[in-house]
């Protein structure tokens, strides 16, 4: 009987340890489509003899709700944009990380290692995320109509191109670029400045052909209406789409700078094995993996400058704006065709 007990105990112990080690060996990743393709994940799994569970999300809202479940305990490593990272840090869902422990951060372009100048990922002196992928919203221009690339965002208001400019149908970004054009802060428009920015947007409305929503739509209008300038909300993906359609277009980041989003990897506060999470981030920053991202998704990685990027490119990382709803409400009225002056009922 005693032997049996001992055997049973041993069996249980072995089983439990196997269970435990099996669980430790699973890395749970929350990412966006295209960030962790299965062939790349396979290599990681083989190299470190671990299992990787990828959960894909299609929007910030879904990402937020996935992470909020179980207070982040369901995932070890997540990919999110800088503004969201800041939110998660405030909610205590992330743990600080040490880029010096992630060797491949040394391969990144200097501006992606200058953490203090990347908004939202440094909170209280601690670094919470490592940049991974980004896309800027520059201007696409018709090389036939521009002898020189348009230098300023003001080109969108240029009466010479009246009816040949395509802007994007969104309140948020349009207010930001209007404010930028006026020399203000794109994300923090002062209450007093709103009428001015609104007028600027009405002026934009009167100068554009239309406000597009889908990249296909923009490409089609570009060809059928001899459009000269597009605000590239979809970044270089949109550039590629137009070039694939055989249009001779250029891409420029205006001197005021281009709005850009930056997605980073961060480690969940309740990660089971932060060291493994660091290995994952390190792997994502390997040249082959980051290059695959650029080749497959037409998004820019953090190791190489994108093709035909002007050295002076100034990227304005997206940040939370002063009042989302105000911008959206005003935008609806502007795009509906209301004539100035727009009075706000407050």
């Amino acid at each position: 009987m005693k032997y049996l007990c001992a055997l049973w105990f041993m069996f249980c112990a072995v089983f439990a340890s196997m269970q435990a080690s099996g669980a430790e060996q699973t890395l749970r990743v929350l990412a966006w489509p295209g960030y962790a393709d299965s062939d790349l994940v396979e290599v990681f799994q083989k190299r470190y003899k671990v299992k990787v569970e990828i959960t894909l999300v299609g929007s910030d809202e879904v990402l937020r709700s996935k992470l909020a479940e179980n207070r982040g305990g369901d995932f070890d490593v997540i990919a999110a944009n800088t503004a969201e990272i800041h939110n998660y840090v405030n909610q205590g869902l992330l743990q600080p990380l040490h880029p010096e422990h992630i060797a491949n951060t040394a391969r990144q372009l200097p501006r992606f290692r200058d953490y203090s100048r990347i908004p939202d990922i440094v909170v209280d002196g601690e670094i919470y995320a490592v940049p991974y992928v980004w896309s800027d919203m520059g201007l696409i221009y018709d090389r036939k109509q521009f002898s020189q690339p348009p230098g300023s965002i003001e080109s969108m208001w240029d009466p010479r191109f009246q009816g040949r400019v395509l802007a994007f149908n969104t309140g948020n970004h349009n207010f930001s670029i209007a404010s930028l054009a006026l020399g203000g802060d794109p994300f923090q428009i002062k209450a007093a400045d709103f009428p001015q920015v609104t007028d600027k947007l009405i002026a934009l409305r009167r100068n554009v052909l239309t406000f597009y929503s889908l990249p296909e739509e923009a490409a089609e209008l570009f060809r059928s209406h001899s459009v000269a300038l597009i605000f590239a909300n979809y970044g270089r993906q949109q550039l590629k789409q137009l070039r694939d359609a055989g249009v001779d277009v250029g891409y420029v980041v205006p001197r005021e700078g281009a709005l850009a989003w930056l997605d980073c990897w961060a480690v969940s506060k309740r990660a089971r094995d932060p060291a493994l999470a660091n290995l994952w981030i390190n792997y994502m920053l390997e040249p082959e993996v980051s290059k695959a991202l650029t080749e497959r998704q037409d998004l820019s990685n953090t190791l190489q400058e994108p093709k035909d990027a002007s050295p002076s490119s100034r990227l304005i990382w997206l940040r939370p704006v002063e009042d989302d709803q105000r911008r959206a409400a005003l935008w609806q009225r502007i795009v509906s065709g209301e004539r100035p002056p727009l009075r706000e009922q407050r």
Partner: protein
């Protein structure tokens, strides 16, 4: 459990009956199912084409309405009317005709005249607001030049009509039309000189347009509409429509993969597709048609009609139930027929078995009902076989009786032989012991028989023995009391001897008989015999002792000179 041949035969026959019925039923069901599916697909395709034509007709009617409105009395003059009063008057008239049109067409949400200049400022605008029709005037008029329905229409020649892609109307202040899937039907308006100075736009509520179109369709039909990229515009699940408006695109081709061929302009104009649902029951079978407005270059929509496959299959399964019932009925009939047939076959066999059993038990031949078929023949063969067996059995019994007799009797004298004698003696002894009777045993031996045999031959000896047997039999009480033990020795026994004197009388009588000459085979011979007697229970208790005593007595007589008897009467107590 053991099954009889009738059960097995019945099963086999039932199987042969049921199998073809079942197979035929299954085949019919399958082919009818296919046929129904094909018929449903054909119906769907026809319906969707009709629906497409109806949609075309509706759009043409809307276009005609737009043309009618642009051809109103003062519309063309509005372009260069300088006088403000006159202009207001003309605009009021136009508003009235817009209003009348809106009242006549509940699916029209908004009718506007929009300037080609002033950033597309609205000139005349009538909106539907619930049950009311409201006129929008003054500062509430908006600039619309950046909308495709304006800038695209202004590129058209007067008289041409543009039908827009379908979008959700987000234009603030659009009253009832706000947030509705909307189709813009627009046409340019030119002044007398042919210069386009404005355009007329009718906003059509897609939902109402479709509910009118859909009203003729069977209610299980589900309508699909997508734009040329496959974005869902009309879908049974309203939440899936206009995904692009909320930043997530939901495509028709994701649900019906074949539709991607329709979206390709070189592809077919209509096709049938099945939805990608996993389970067979939930799948939809749908027909799609690509509709172009004016020639192939214009944007087009894909219109589809779907029906749950389960609905189509429900008809098939009704047919299947009928087929199954028929198959079941025929199977039951087959079972019944098999049962009857096996019974018919088995009954004569069973009666034959019974007859054979009866025969083997009681050796009786029972009569079977006469039949002319093979079974009748078999029965007759059995009958004759049984008769033959009976005959042979009788013969066997006879010969056995003969053997029996032969084994216990002397063939020469027909007297019981030694074996039979002992059996009879044993029985007699048992009876005597039980009843307390006395018995006498007489041993007879012929004198000089050997010499006689030598002298006259064995045949003569045999005749002598036969004669002596007759003599002894006639002298004794019954035939079974005389036996020949072998050679010239005979035994006679007497049951229930009351007094020994009677034995003496008998001995004397026998002795006298032996004194008479016998005529045998022409010879006169003198046969003498020596006799000895033993008495039960005086001289012995068993056969051996009795025989031995009688034998001794006989030898005593022989020693005394032969031809005499020896019996000690006096020694009895």
């Amino acid at each position: 459990m053991r099954f009889g041949i009738s059960f097995k035969l019945g099963c086999l026959m039932a199987l042969f009956g049921m199998l073809p019925t079942g197979l035929a039923g299954y085949y019919i069901y399958n082919s009818s199912r296919e046929m129904l599916l094909h018929a449903a697909e054909r119906d769907l395709l026809t319906s969707v084409q009709v629906l497409g034509r109806n949609l075309h007709a509706s759009l043409r009617n809307i276009s005609l309405d737009a043309a009618v409105l642009t051809n109103g009395p003062q519309v063309h003059d509005l372009g260069d009317m300088a006088d403000a009063n006159e202009r207001t008057h003309a605009e009021n008239d136009l508003a009235e005709s817009f209003r009348a049109m809106l009242l006549a067409h509940p699916d029209y949400m908004q009718i506007r005249l929009i300037s080609a200049t002033d950033h597309g400022l609205e000139l005349v605008r009538e909106d539907r607001d619930g049950r009311r029709i409201v006129r929008v005037e003054g500062n509430d008029l908006q600039e619309k030049a950046h909308y495709a329905y304006v800038f695209e229409t202004l590129r058209l020649a007067p008289g041409e009509v543009r039908i827009s892609p379908i979008v959700i109307n987000h234009e603030q202040g659009a009253h009832s039309g706000l947030g509705k899937p909307t189709l813009h039907v627009s046409t340019p308006v030119a002044d007398a000189g042919g210069k386009v100075f404005a355009l007329l736009v009718i906003n059509v509520d897609l939902d109402q347009l479709f509910s009118q179109l859909q009203s003729d369709l069977p209610k299980e039909y589900q309508v699909y509409l997508s734009n040329r990229w496959g974005d869902l515009l009309v879908h049974p699940d309203h939440r899936r429509t206009f995904g692009f408006d909320q930043g997530r695109r939901l495509f028709l081709q994701d649900e019906f993969p074949d539709v991607s061929r329709l979206l390709n302009e070189t592809g077919p104009n209509s096709l049938i597709s099945r939805s990608v649902e996993q389970s067979q029951q939930d799948r939809l079978v749908a027909a799609f048609v690509r509709l172009s407005h004016n020639g192939a270059s214009e944007p087009f929509v894909v219109l589809g009609l779907g029906q749950p496959q389960s609905h189509v299959l429900a008809q098939a399964s009704r047919a299947g139930t009928n087929i199954a019932q028929i198959a079941l009925l025929f199977s039951l009939l087959a079972v019944l027929a098999a049962f009857i047939a096996s019974r018919t076959l088995i009954r004569p066999l069973r009666s034959m078995t019974d007859a054979v059993e009866l025969f083997s038990r009681e050796r009786r031949i029972s009569e079977l009902p006469p039949r002319d078929d093979e079974l009748g023949l078999l029965a007759r063969r059995f009958q004759s076989m049984k008769q033959e067996i009976l005959g042979q059995l009788d013969d066997l019994t006879c010969s056995r009786a003969a053997f029996e007799h032969l084994a216990r009797h002397d063939p020469l004298t027909e007297l019981p032989n030694r074996r039979r004698c002992f059996e009879l003696l044993e029985q007699a002894l048992v009876a005597a012991r039980e009843n307390g009777h006395k018995m006498a045993l007489l041993f007879v031996d012929l004198d000089h028989f050997k010499e006689m045999n030598d002298q006259y031959g064995h045949r003569f000896g045999d005749l002598v023995l036969q004669a002596v047997a007759k003599l002894l039999t006639s002298a004794s009480d019954g035939a079974d009391c005389v036996a020949r033990l072998g050679g010239d020795e005979f035994v006679i026994f007497f049951n229930d001897v009351k007094a020994p004197q009677k034995i003496v009388v008998l001995l004397e009588k026998l002795h006298q008989c032996f004194q008479l000459p016998l005529f045998i085979d022409g010879h006169r011979v003198q046969i003498h015999a020596s006799m000895g007697v033993s008495l039960f229970p005086r001289d012995g208790d068993d056969i051996g002792a009795l025989i031995q005593h009688a034998d001794h007595a006989m030898y005593k007589a022989k020693s005394a000179g032969r031809n005499r008897y020896s019996f000690e009467v006096l020694e009895e107590e």
